[in-house]
Structures are given as structure tokens and as C-alpha cells.
């Protein structure tokens, strides 16, 4: 994948397929520790321990249509390529947490890319799921929570086009302020 935000869009699909109602995406960019970490936590159906340990293998998959699944293996490969790693914690019936980390300055680390687009698409395709996105960088913080937005909207659906445009701008501007006015790298 050309952007980490595409990996996030992809891995979150697993959470959605697991029937999650709440998915949290946490990104920490720690330039001092030279670390880029992504944590995705959901309240979906979870997996037992043995299975969770195996899913980095592309030939282990929960899908029924075919014997190959590449979502997690591709992110795992991206982490490994950048002196990082990927960890999966899961409890059956409780949910799953995927933590991926990469060396921030690594030449092979893909840029974060367009998180605003990723968030917008997650919402438009899954309006009933709640998403929390927080992003920390150099002591600054950006938080985005669909539960808050839904509370303000009341009867109006979150996937109204105008609302989505507002959300996209909100995320884009929020991330820009973390980067001192520049787009995410």
C-alpha cells in the first residue's frame, strides 16, 4: 500500500467484519523515540489466542470465499520492512487490539497519507459504527469522535453529504495543525 492510511482503512475492515460497534484508531508519532505507532482497538467478536497468533500468515484467514487474506500480512510486512513489528491481542467475545509500529525515519516507511479520506469512507460505509480517532505528535493532540458528532446531529444522519464534508475538513485541518500547517508525512 502506498499510504499507511490505506492500511488503516483495510485493517479496520476486519473490525467491521467482526461486528464491532465501536472502533478506536490511535496514532502516535514520537519523533524523539523515532517511532510511528498505529493502534486499532475494537469491540468485535474477537479471536481465541491460537488463531490471533496465526493471522500474520496470509494463508490463515477468516474469510470463506478463499484461502488467502492479505490485510494483516501486508501491514505486518510494512512494519518489518521499517524495523518495527505488529502485535495482536484478542479476547473471544470482547474484541481485538492491533498494534503496529514502524521506525519513523525509515526510508521505506510509507507516508501516513490522507487520513481525512480514510475516516470519511469508514463513516459513509458504516454510519452505524462509532469511530474514535486520536493522533498525537510532539506533545500536540488531535481528537475526533463520531459519538460527539452524532449527539449534536440528533435525527440527522452522519452520512449526509454536507456532514461528511464538514468531517473531512475537520480531520484535515486538525492534522495540519499537528504538523505546523503542512499535510501529514
Amino acid at each position: 500500500m502506498k499510504e499507511l492510511s490505506l492500511h488503516i482503512l483495510d485493517v479496520v475492515q476486519n473490525s467491521i467484519a467482526a461486528g464491532s460497534t465501536f472502533i478506536s484508531i490511535g496514532i502516535i508519532e514520537d519523533l524523539k523515540a523515532n517511532l510511528f505507532s498505529i493502534e486499532i482497538t475494537d469491540n468485535g467478536c474477537g479471536m481465541d489466542k491460537d488463531y490471533a497468533e496465526q493471522i500474520k500468515d496470509p494463508f490463515i484467514t477468516g474469510r470463506k470465499s478463499r484461502k488467502v487474506g492479505l490485510g494483516i500480512p501486508l501491514l505486518y510486512a510494512a512494519c518489518k520492512r521499517c524495523e518495527g513489528d505488529l502485535e495482536i491481542e484478542s479476547k473471544k467475545g470482547k474484541g481485538t487490539r492491533i498494534t503496529a509500529w514502524l521506525k519513523h525515519s525509515h526510508i521505506d516507511r510509507a507516508p501516513l497519507g490522507n487520513m481525512a479520506d480514510t475516516i470519511k469512507i469508514l463513516i459513509v460505509c458504516n454510519p452505524e459504527v462509532d469511530f474514535l480517532y486520536n493522533h498525537k505528535k510532539n506533545g500536540k493532540k488531535f481528537d475526533f469522535d463520531t459519538r460527539e458528532i452524532k449527539r449534536i446531529l440528533g435525527d440527522v444522519s452522519i452520512n449526509e453529504i454536507e456532514v461528511l464534508s464538514w468531517i473531512e475538513e475537520q480531520v484535515r485541518e486538525g492534522l495540519k495543525s499537528l504538523n505546523g500547517g503542512a499535510d501529514s508525512l
Partner: protein, 122 residues
């Protein structure tokens, strides 16, 4: 910066129109959002479709996602379901093809034959 007040205003504006379209049966546009679709460029395609819907104010079009349908080599795949008509599957879609699909098929009922799976696999 976007403010909460703006969101409140959107809410008020939208509430007035929401009841008008509650019982309309509209077009459904479904896009493959599995690993294969995303890697092939489904995200910009879906965004292009949404931008066109917004531009032409098409209130009765629903956008949804699906998983991998086993035709990864033809991704990004877009399926258009119009009420009372057969499903049309478009393959290897990019943002400019997506714009044509919205303008011709969704808005004017003219299927863009050259992008359909039937044409592509011939």
C-alpha cells in the same frame, strides 16, 4: 477551523429536507473495499463518486461497500443497482470513469457499456 456551530447549522438545514426523501427508493452504488480493492485504488474512486453525488445534489443515491467478491484482478469494482433493473458491474474503475458512470448511468440511465465486466472480459 471547522466549528461545532457550523455542524449545528448543517443539522438544521438538513432536517428540513430529510422528510422529503424518506420513502424514495433510490440507486445503490456498491464498491469493493477489501484489501484488493483498496490496493487497486477504491478509495479515490469512492470519493470521486461522492463528490459527483454532491455536485449534482443526487439525494436518492446510496453509497455502500462490500468485501472481496473474488475478482481481484478487475478491482476497483463498482456495482450499480437501480430499482427494477439488473445490476451492472463496472471493472477497473478509476476516478474519471467513476464520474462518467455517475453522469451517464446513474443520472441518465445510460449504461457505460465499455467499462462493464462483459466488455472487459471479452
Amino acid at each position: 477551523m471547522k466549528t461545532i456551530q457550523e455542524l449545528e447549522e448543517i443539522r438544521k438545514r438538513t432536517l428540513e429536507t430529510i422528510n422529503l426523501r424518506k420513502d424514495q427508493t433510490g440507486t445503490r452504488v456498491v464498491i469493493g473495499m477489501a484489501t484488493c480493492g483498496i490496493a487497486a485504488g477504491a478509495r479515490p474512486v469512492l470519493l470521486a463518486i461522492m463528490d459527483e453525488i454532491k455536485k449534482h445534489n443526487l439525494s436518492d443515491v446510496i453509497v455502500a461497500q462490500t468485501g472481496c467478491i473474488g475478482l481481484c484482478v478487475y478491482e476497483p469494482i463498482v456495482e450499480v443497482y437501480k430499482p427494477g433493473q439488473e445490476k451492472v458491474t463496472y471493472v477497473k474503475v478509476n476516478p474519471s470513469k467513476a464520474i462518467r458512470i455517475v453522469n451517464e448511468h446513474i443520472m441518465k440511465d445510460k449504461v457505460v457499456q465499455e467499462y462493464t465486466i462483459g466488455t472487459e472480459t471479452k
